[in-house]
């Protein structure tokens, strides 16, 4: 059980680290949005699910409340995080930021 | 570690004063005041911290707890944060109205264009 929790935490930390690395290494805004948002959201799922399982195993009123509240936090994170990234990518495109090294911009051609 | 929260709150206050002294944009001055506010809030809350204490809430507290963090500075900080937002909004409203009337946000130029 404990090993499983540690495995979940390690996977979560790994994916969050990949997201942070993407933020540092990728060349332009759109690839950074892609890497950072996707990896951190996916890694946070693992981290929070570890807390949920811990709460469920602990049981009682305290553990159940912990599991429910952590699941609520995960649910809201999953709803709001992609929305923010979508709005940000759209705003960056409207503001005139162009992708680095892009050969064709289909969104621009449609206008 | 040592007294790091106190030192950090002092550094925040110093940074805010630096912004207030060296910058002339009115919105930047509001940002400097916000930074000072952050420093003061951090100072108050860290004054009430007790080593090994838990949050001052009895709901689902761990059964064998020894200490509780002191609640009075937290109560004072709580009101200070809301007041801070309200006064920041008042400052920004003044900045917007001044820009509408004078066409500039520079504090020095506003003083020259008196009348």
């Amino acid at each position: 059980m404990k090993a499983f929790l540690y495995l979940l935490l390690a996977v979560g930390a790994l994916f969050n680290g990949l997201g942070a690395l993407a933020l540092l290494r990728f060349p332009d805004v759109y690839t950074r949005i892609h890497g950072a948002t996707k990896c951190t959201t996916f890694g946070s799922i693992f981290s929070i699910v570890a807390v949920v399982i811990y709460g469920l195993v602990k049981g009682g009123g305290e553990g159940g409340t912990l599991a429910i509240h952590a699941l609520l936090a995960l649910f809201f994170l999953l709803i709001t995080n992609p929305t923010g990234s979508h709005a940000l990518a759209r705003g960056a495109h409207r503001a005139g930021v162009r992708p680095v090294g892009a050969v064709v911009d289909k969104l621009e051609e449609r206008k | 570690m040592g007294n790091m929260p106190f030192v950090v709150s002092m550094i925040l206050v110093g940074l805010g004063f630096l912004a207030l002294i060296t910058r002339r944009n009115l919105i930047k001055l509001a940002i400097g005041i916000s930074v000072i506010e952050m420093g003061v809030n951090l100072f108050l809350v860290s004054l009430g911290y007790v080593k090994g204490g838990i949050a001052p809430i009895y709901t689902y507290a761990p059964p064998g707890f020894k200490e509780m963090v002191f609640p009075t500075p937290q109560a004072l900080t709580l009101t200070a944060i809301v007041i801070g937002l309200a006064t920041t909004a008042l400052m920004l409203a003044f900045a917007v109205v001044i820009y509408r009337h004078r066409g500039t946000l520079d504090a020095g130029k506003i003083r020259e264009l008196r009348g």
Partner: protein, 88 residues
């Protein structure tokens, strides 16, 4: 079942990643880069808060994480709307 230490270490690692995001916030050439860094810090802090709530053994602390998860994207929306040229 002493997993609290694991939660604490994982939280410290996540806060360490926030340094990388802060570097992008400092360096980012455009406003959008900085906003992406802010978004990443938001997600990392929410995960950290949930982990620390379990590590401290205090259930009531997790409410803070819910507030952050619910409200942190409003600032991102304002920045995006500003860059689109709205909010006139």
């Amino acid at each position: 079942m002493i997993a609290e230490l694991g939660f604490l270490v994982a939280a410290a690692v996540l806060v360490g990643y926030a340094f990388v995001s802060m570097a992008r916030l400092a360096a980012g050439p455009t406003t959008a880069d900085r906003a992406v860094a802010l978004d990443t810090i938001n997600t990392l802090v929410v995960a950290t808060m949930v982990l620390l709530g379990a590590a401290f053994g205090q259930v009531v602390l997790v409410d803070v994480a819910i507030v952050y998860a619910l409200l942190s994207f409003i600032a991102t929306l304002y920045i995006a709307r500003y860059m689109e040229g709205g909010l006139k």
